[in-house]
């Protein structure tokens, strides 16, 4: 297999060396699955030829970007790992129309570093800056800015991909691959919208009562100028240097917030962005992405507080991040049952992958099966992820 693949991508871009195989046996989760081969294509044609070869030989292909999946999304036993790491170029920047065309393997931080020179930004910024654009597209990722700006889907003009049968597409029909977690195709390029660096102001609200928060969230959500609405639990807020109590940070696209000075805003944003680092440095190890309705947010916060689970997240649209310490690993199972009980789901933040497979709704399953039938009927791409196909 290596010989055939190296004919396609060149000898330096394919490996079955045990060290490389071990390096691609893990991602951001605890599952370890050793692949048979790792391939680093460098252009779309190579991806297309690899897919054709995989179809001929029935080789399962697992797509990987930076390997940050928390739900076992980019590992696969005895599979060929197709890594986008070496497809990381910026193809075209159109400042006039605020568009940028990039390869899928470019990492969000590298993209924004490059755009910074032109005072532009790709505004959806996840807390893990190493994520690739391809990965974010495959998850249709949401970030705190999604409150105002929507998800990745809203920031893509056109997308280039190779489907599971080796067919090439350059299309505006983004929904074929966006948010499909690599089940229908390998995203090779995307034309993204960019914006100017946003001018925002921020209000910080502290609460002692849970019910007060929900009332405030309900009120703020109606505000069309709301840019983000972030929740911090009591302990986390205190450790970040906010007042005692639960904290809501509301960002606005106008200057109506109390903190409008550039330095004040930057300081608050830095604090907010350091939440993940703070919790990780405190020894919180496992991460979950509960998605609950506003009515059930009360229960979620209360449960987490009672069980010493740290919680922060996007209160405006109900996507939270729960942090468990290593000792509380057993709590994870209880937490998942609890979320199910309050009609919440997992997977809206980190994706479904293997770990959140049982939270995929029947409607979504049906939709994915239909897409698989059309774009990957041999079930080459990410087999057994998200759904069990055939």
């Amino acid at each position: 297999m290596k010989k055939r693949l190296s004919n396609i991508v060149g000898p330096g871009n394919v490996s079955d060396n045990p060290v490389d195989l071990e390096a691609y046996s893990y991602c951001g989760s605890e599952t370890k699955l050793k692949p048979d081969v790792v391939v680093w294509p460098q252009n779309t044609d190579q991806v297309r030829r690899i897919m054709l070869y995989a179809n001929q030989t029935h080789t399962p292909v697992v797509i990987r970007g930076s390997g940050t999946s928390l739900v076992d999304g980019c590992v696969g036993e005895k599979a060929a790992i197709l890594s986008s790491e070496r497809m990381n170029k910026i193809i075209k920047l159109d400042l006039k129309n605020k568009l940028i065309e990039v390869e899928a393997g470019i990492r969000i931080k590298d993209l924004n570093n490059a755009l910074g020179e032109f005072k532009a930004v790709f505004p959806l910024i996840p807390f893990n800056h190493v994520k690739t654009i391809g990965g974010m597209l495959a998850l249709n990722a949401a970030t705190k800015e999604s409150q105002h700006l929507g998800r990745m889907l809203d920031w893509v003009e056109e997308i280039e991909f190779v489907d599971g049968t080796g067919k090439y597409y350059y299309t505006k029909k983004k929904e074929i691959v966006l948010g499909r977690e690599g089940l229908t195709g390998f995203i090779t390029r995307a034309k993204l919208r960019i914006s100017e660096q946003p001018v925002i102001s921020i209000d910080v609200f502290s609460f002692t009562q849970l019910l007060e928060i929900l009332k405030k969230v309900r009120l703020l959500k109606k505000d069309v100028e709301l840019y983000f609405l972030e929740f911090l639990d009591k302990k986390t807020a205190q450790e970040l240097g906010f007042d005692n109590g639960y904290v809501l940070l509301a960002g606005y696209t106008s200057l109506k917030g109390k903190n409008k000075n550039v330095l004040e805003v930057r300081k608050l944003l830095e604090k907010l962005d350091s939440t993940h680092s703070l919790l990780r440095s405190k020894g919180y190890y496992y991460l979950q992405d509960p998605f609950v309705s506003l009515e059930k947010t009360y229960d979620l916060i209360e449960w987490c507080e009672k069980n010493n689970v740290r919680l922060h997240g996007h209160a405006g649209f109900g996507l939270f991040y729960a942090y468990f310490s290593k000792e509380d690993k057993n709590l994870l199972k209880t937490f998942r049952s609890f979320i199910r009980r309050i009609n919440g789901v997992f997977g809206k933040g980190f994706g479904y992958g293997l770990a959140n497979k049982d939270f995929v709704s029947p409607i979504k399953k049906k939709e994915l099966i239909k897409l698989k039938d059309e774009y990957d009927y041999n079930n080459i791409l990410n087999p057994d992820k998200v759904i069990s196909y055939r």
Binding site: S15, V19, D20, E22, A23, Y24, Y26, C27, G28, S29, V38, W40, S66, G67, T68, S83, E85, R86, N88, R107, K109, N128, H129, V130, E239, L240, S274, H276, S277, L278, R280, S281, K282, G283, Y285, Y286, L287
Partner: protein
């Protein structure tokens, strides 16, 4: 903010943020060249040649949310003590012993640069 706790590799949850600015990863563009793989191996004390692929610049510690220091130098020292050497190091050591420089025999009229480019 104090980052005093759990700096050891056991606290790594493999988020991959350490790969962000690693100069070795940026050149090789593969997981086995980056710091995350080193932590993955260090967690199970499986020391391999990849620990020599580190410039000790500390960019990984800067980017790590848990501020984990892999300690490649210490690991390398331990590996060398146990008799492990990379082929390149072996050649360099031999050259220093025999010729007094890491490049080997320097012939008259040749500049040192020609020996390593």
């Amino acid at each position: 903010m104090t980052l005093d706790k759990n700096k050891g590799v056991d606290n790594c949850n493999l988020c991959g943020m350490c790969n962000l600015n690693c100069p070795i990863y940026k050149v090789l563009l593969k997981e086995s060249g980056g710091p995350r793989f080193k932590v993955f191996l260090a967690k199970k004390k499986d020391y391999k040649e990849v620990f020599f692929l580190c410039t000790e610049c500390g960019a990984c510690i800067q980017d790590c949310p848990a501020k984990i220091d892999i300690g490649c130098l210490k690991i390398r020292a331990e590996m060398v003590k146990k008799g492990f050497e990379t082929p390149a190091n072996k050649i360099m050591q031999e050259n220093i012993k025999q010729h007094g420089n890491p490049f080997g025999e320097i012939k008259k009229g040749k500049k040192i640069k020609q020996y390593y480019t």
